[in-house]
């Protein structure tokens, strides 16, 4: 006999760092239906290719999103490089890998903090973000920016990391591991956190596949796909396992992401050892023509960078399919039947990046 409440959730809502809107239909506090609305952040930057040449567009590409910035830049550059048949110097590829993995650590820590905040564990949020600041400092040391690096360019990278810096970073990461372990314990073993994560928002393997989930969202449902295994950048020379978890609930998604932080540290360590000494960048001649779908693994999952050139300096089309866009249907799936209190947690467990999604 319960009546149903109809309330708006977002776009302005304190648990949502970015605007997204849901029409929630609630029974008590059980979500019966959730219809999403996006478009609050839509800028239309794909159309900017008509105004910026393919080299300048790198600056736009990395501003698709401030969190995934680096890999957006890299993905775009790689796509262009593929259409032009440019072989990027290995050192540049290794540096891209290292920055990319650092981005992953920073993004996952940021996500952990936001997740903690969503389930009301403020000190855990603070702790995660305190750790994240160290990574940001490392970024600033090597790229000159905290969130947007501007180091990618077609044909390579602009800045280098010397061996001392790399050693220093490895040491910082080693120190960080201890704190990370304490954090991990709180996320994975604490009773109250477990009540908020375990069994909440289960996405089965079949559903994950059907709804086209990507990244940690998919891997935590037991599907073993990680586009880094395609071997772009330097990943073909690095050894790592795809991290999965079979359960598919919020807890599994947390577990997968935390393990990926440790994995990323290992990848950086390997890369720092193997990094060859070549030049950083090639001089690019000519204009891109032809098309290419570049698949890169963002912290949030597989991103697709599609470029289509016509032999002039302006591209015909750039399209970015970001992981969050692919994960939205999964989010709606897990939202059904959850509690209102779970809504922020579940929105966060797909690790949404709305500004990526809407471009």
């Amino acid at each position: 006999m319960s009546a149903r409440s109809i309330v708006p959730f977002g776009p302005q809502h304190p648990v949502l760092p970015e605007p997204i809107h849901l029409d929630l239909v609630l029974e008590d506090e059980t979500v019966i239906e959730a219809i999403p609305s996006i478009g609050f952040v839509h800028r239309g930057l794909e159309k900017l290719v008509e105004k910026k040449d393919f080299q300048d567009y790198v600056y736009v590409a990395e501003r698709i999103c401030g969190i995934c910035s680096f890999i957006h830049g890299m993905g775009y550059c790689s796509a262009i490089e593929s259409t032009m048949g440019i072989e990027v110097p290995r050192r540049a590829e290794y540096l891209r890998t290292i920055w990319g993995e650092m981005s992953r650590i920073h993004s996952h820590l940021l996500w952990l903090g936001l997740l903690a905040d969503a389930f009301g564990f403020e000190s855990l949020f603070m702790q995660s973000w305190k750790l994240r600041e160290k990574i940001l400092d490392m970024f600033e040391m090597t790229t000159g920016g905290r969130v947007i690096f501007s180091v990618n360019q077609i044909g390579g990278v602009k800045r280098d990391m010397d061996s001392d810096t790399l050693k220093l970073f490895i040491k910082i990461f080693d120190d960080m591991k201890k704190e990370l372990t304490a954090l991990t314990k709180a996320f994975l073993n604490d009773y109250s956190v477990n009540t908020r994560l375990k069994g909440v928002g289960i996405l089965t393997k079949e559903k994950a596949h059907e709804l086209g989930a990507v990244g940690p969202m998919m891997r935590s449902s037991g599907i073993e796909i990680d586009t880094r295994k395609l071997g772009y950048s330097a990943y073909n020379e690095l050894d790592f396992q795809v991290i999965t978890s079979p359960v598919g609930d919020s807890y599994a998604r947390t577990e997968v992401r935390i393990n990926e932080i440790f994995q990323s540290i290992e990848i950086i360590r390997q890369a720092a050892q193997k990094i060859p000494d070549t030049e950083l960048s090639l001089v690019v001649k000519g204009f891109p023509s032809g098309e290419y779908f570049m698949r890169a693994e963002q912290p949030r999952g597989e991103a697709i960078y599609y470029v289509k050139g016509n032999g002039t300096k302006f591209l015909d089309r750039v399209r970015v399919r970001t992981p969050t866009f692919a994960n939205l249907p999964s989010m709606l799936e897990v939202l059904k039947g959850c509690q209102l209190a779970d809504v922020p947690t579940l929105i966060l467990t797909i690790d949404p990046c709305i500004s990526c999604t809407e471009r």
Partner: protein
């Protein structure tokens, strides 16, 4: 005479005490999170600011209810510090809370109303334990009257340790601290936005904050009367216990995720049963 003095002292100093407590709380919380934190006097700055802001409401009824909330919270505290009837004090504070709930739902706003429903749920969760506290005092000391409770020969806690712990448990709800800050939270990021207080701003928010300080003083007073007996040193012990209890609340606030409403309801009722009712049974058995 002493009764009137203590009532007046409460009226005047409860906000000061409550505000300082909030300030210390925020400072300690910040330090626990590795931050420097605001100045101790920050809550006072906040409340003065709130009273100087433009008053906006969604519905004029809000003003009525929010004042009702304040008045009855103060009334409860006065009743308590006057040495009056504990059970009546609990009834009065319930009335005050109901005013707050009506205030929130009179705004007819989504998050405010949802907050009021949650607040109601919280009340339902802690109500059994609150009543058991009063019953425990009655059985332990033979009276509902605070005046008689604090002059009894032995401390109430000697025979009601379970009830004391149960009270501390629900105190987390009353202080609106994690894991039980469902209806409105001191922390910003909540699915309820600010729950109950979403539609309160400026003066009305200031009033709720003030009422909250009065209420906290009263609630801590109840911790104290568990300890206080006819001897003078029991007052000092009581002070220490209150401080420790509050510190524990801050610690718990910082080491728990916010639970969901079912956990809140179930656990509070189970605690009321496991600690409260069993303690009462034991009391009957001793007698």
């Amino acid at each position: 005479m002493i009764k009137i003095v203590s009532t007046v002292l409460y009226l005047v100093f409860a906000p000061v005490f409550g505000g300082l407590l909030a300030g210390v709380d925020r400072k300690i919380t910040a330090r626990m999170q590795g931050r420097k934190g605001p100045p101790i006097l920050q809550p006072f700055y906040d409340i003065f600011k709130l009273f100087s802001k433009e008053a906006i409401v969604v519905d004029h009824l809000q003003n009525l209810f929010v004042i009702g909330y304040l008045v009855f919270i103060i009334f409860t505290g006065c009743l308590f510090f006057y040495g009056g009837d504990l059970l009546l004090a609990f009834f009065a504070i319930t009335l005050a809370e109901i005013f707050l709930i009506m205030c929130a739902s009179s705004a007819n706003s989504a998050y405010s109303s949802m907050g009021s429903q949650r607040e109601l749920l919280q009340m339902m969760a802690y109500e059994p334990m609150i009543l058991i506290v009063a019953i425990g005092f009655y059985i332990a000391t033979g009276s509902f009257s605070v005046g008689e409770i604090i002059t009894s020969q032995t401390s109430a806690i000697a025979t009601t340790p379970g009830i004391f712990l149960g009270y501390l448990y629900i105190l987390t709800i009353k202080f609106r601290k994690s894991p039980f800050d469902l209806s409105t939270s001191h922390h910003a990021h909540q699915e309820m936005v600010k729950g109950l207080t979403v539609e309160l701003s400026g003066r009305t928010l200031g009033i709720t904050e003030l009422a909250h300080w009065y209420e906290n003083t009263f609630l801590i007073g109840i911790i104290a009367i568990f300890i206080i007996n006819a001897t003078w040193w029991s007052w000092i012990v009581a002070l220490a216990v209150c401080a420790l209890a509050y510190f524990m609340e801050i610690l718990i606030d910082n080491t728990y995720a916010r639970v969901k409403w079912k956990v809140l309801l179930n656990s509070s009722w189970i605690v009321a049963f496991g600690l409260g009712i069993l303690n009462l049974l034991a009391l009957y058995y001793i007698k």
